[in-house]
């Protein structure tokens, strides 16, 4: 945090750090390089199509969950309705591609539309706080779900199919034998989303939204335009989530209300971000991979019985996270690392 907000922090002096051997600081660029290195290597290490499919879905959901993270994790506005933006991206892209547009242009146009929806719905709803806000986001997304389900030119409950065209990067359609092109498009889009989010979070806006999360009244008291910055975060968050929706519809070439706007979808974005680490940059990416893999493994295990354990596992994980470490897996890992370092320092100091 920087800027005027700092003055509000309790004037307690930081406890004296115990002396420990100088640890070399983890350089800023190291994490992104490692993350993207691993993501680029993944489809070459695991060669089969099923693994590529997992990767594509995980990256798509990682984009959406990262979008959620800006609003839910960094700004503290827990949305249970982010399927609204995913659906906006998917439906706008589907409609325009069916009308003969280039998918790239269609996706690009769906982003400002999603941002506009975020402003229109957010303008009234952001006056609400905590659970009032969370329930309101469910209400808005469910209303959109019901409207689409009853609108004939949006395909009602049957959904919209997209035409299969010539395979090329321009058409964003590739062979289904080797799905790696889809994977790398998803990865490029994730990089784009991560870049946009990093830019937003690094600037003044980033400090402001964190201040709003920590204490909205204190933030307002030091002159931060709370409502305006909530809206700004919602715009970027909605656009990033719509990017995932646009790519998703080009990958599966089909969208219906359940897969594009359903409450379950909103819920899974939240689960991913929170599990990995809400308010931590790489949290949603980690959470998305964990959830997609859990889903894949358990679906195979119980296929045909109609039973599934994935929800059971997600629910238990999320509850454990909330009770023990609301910062998610990444915060837990950080705490473990700190603990390990401290014990290592102590054993060194004893002799």
């Amino acid at each position: 945090m920087s800027g005027p907000v700092q003055q509000l922090a309790p004037a307690v002096a930081a406890p004296e750090q115990p002396r420990r051997p100088a640890v070399r600081r983890w350089p800023r660029w190291a994490t992104p390089v490692l993350v993207f290195g691993a993501l680029i290597a993944y489809p070459f290490v695991l060669q089969d199509s099923a693994a590529h499919n997992i990767g594509i879905l995980a990256l798509t959901y990682a984009i959406a969950a990262s979008g959620w993270n800006l609003l839910g994790g960094y700004t503290g506005q827990v949305s249970f309705g982010h399927a609204l933006y995913f659906g906006a991206g998917a439906y706008v892209t589907a409609l325009l591609v069916r009308a003969g547009w280039s998918p790239w242009l269609a996706i690009a146009l769906s982003l400002p539309i999603a941002a506009a929806i975020a402003v229109l719905t957010g303008y009234p709803v952001f006056r609400l706080r905590n659970h009032y806000y969370s329930i309101a986001t469910i209400a808005v997304a469910e209303i959109a779900f019901l409207l689409v389900t009853n609108t004939s030119w949006l395909g009602r409950a049957n959904g919209l199919e997209l035409p299969i065209t010539e395979q090329s990067l321009a058409n964003l359609q590739f062979s289904l034998q080797d799905k790696r092109p889809y994977y790398f498009v998803a990865l490029a889009l994730f990089a784009l989303a991560a870049g946009a989010l990093a830019l937003f979070l690094r600037g003044r806006a980033g400090s402001y939204v964190r201040a709003i999360r920590d204490d909205q009244f204190a933030a307002a008291a030091v002159g931060i335009p709370v409502h305006r910055y909530k809206l700004a975060a919602a715009m970027v968050s909605g656009a990033v989530t719509a990017l995932a929706g646009g790519f998703y519809v080009m990958y599966v070439l089909f969208i219906d209300p359940q897969s594009g706007l359903g409450l379950d979808l909103s819920v899974s974005f939240t689960l991913m971000a929170v599990l990995g680490g809400a308010g931590r940059f790489w949290g949603p990416l980690l959470g998305a991979w964990v959830l997609v893999i859990v889903q894949d493994v358990t679906r195979h295990e119980f296929s045909g019985t109609g039973r599934s354990v994935d929800l059971l596992i997600y629910g238990a994980l999320i509850t454990i996270v909330a009770v023990t470490e609301p910062g998610g897996i990444l915060a837990l890992a950080q705490r473990l690392a700190k603990w390990a370092r401290r014990t290592a320092g102590r054993t060194e100091a004893t002799p």
Partner: protein
Amino acid sequence: MTDLAQAVVNGVLIGAVFALVAVGLTLIYGVMDIVNFAHGEMLMLGMYSSFFAWSLFGLDPLVSLPMAGFAIALTGALMYYGVIARVLGKSPLAQIIATFGVQVFLRGLAQFLWTPDTRTVTSPWADDLRLEVAGVVIGGPQLIMAIGAVVTTGAVALFMNRTKTGGAIRAAGEDPAAASLMGINPKRMYALAWVIAGAATGVAGGLLMNGYSSSPTAGVTFVLMAFVVVAFGGFGSIAGAAVAGLLVGVAQGVVGLYAPSYTLAAALALYLLVVLVRPQGLLGTR
């Protein structure tokens, strides 16, 4: 005209059930400022306990009501001690996510144990019951659900407002520090609130089996309506929930007459309107 009268009567009858479903939610909120996102799943478990009492032991849903109430009261106690007590005083994010995780967990549990199939109880005597007044028909199951809901809601309201224990729970909710100076253990009162909310919700689930079928997602629609009712009546107010339940039921009935696909959308729009225009609700204070 008869159509409208029928819609209003149907609305009043289902509204009484909405009110009962909302009671547990509003009680927890009033006492500890926590919205239980797993409320619909507690209702769903109540429906399943009623179903199994019928399918395994042949008990009519009305006979097994106390069991459904007891089972979900126990669930409430488990949830309080297992999860809620551990997030008290933590950030709103942690609290929202905690009950939300329980929601996903319970739904997953139901899906795993009992598959996504819908389960229905057939109760011949209730189905045969039928009242007709001036062209307006009242079905037996509807009537049973409504009467049961009114009685249960009334019982919870009386307990909270007229008994010493109910007063102690409210005191712990209003000011835990002052309450503990009066010899009240706030933590125990919180747990008791969860037990009572669970019992009311379990009974609601048992009543619902007279007219609805159970499935892992059976609680979703009802909990959305309960959110609307609780916001409308004022978060935390039991009397407000009772009045709002009836109003929302009637509104839903009348909207259903003209635009049947938009009843839920209308209710959700009502939620948005209420929280934005009058956040304290009809009978809420603050």
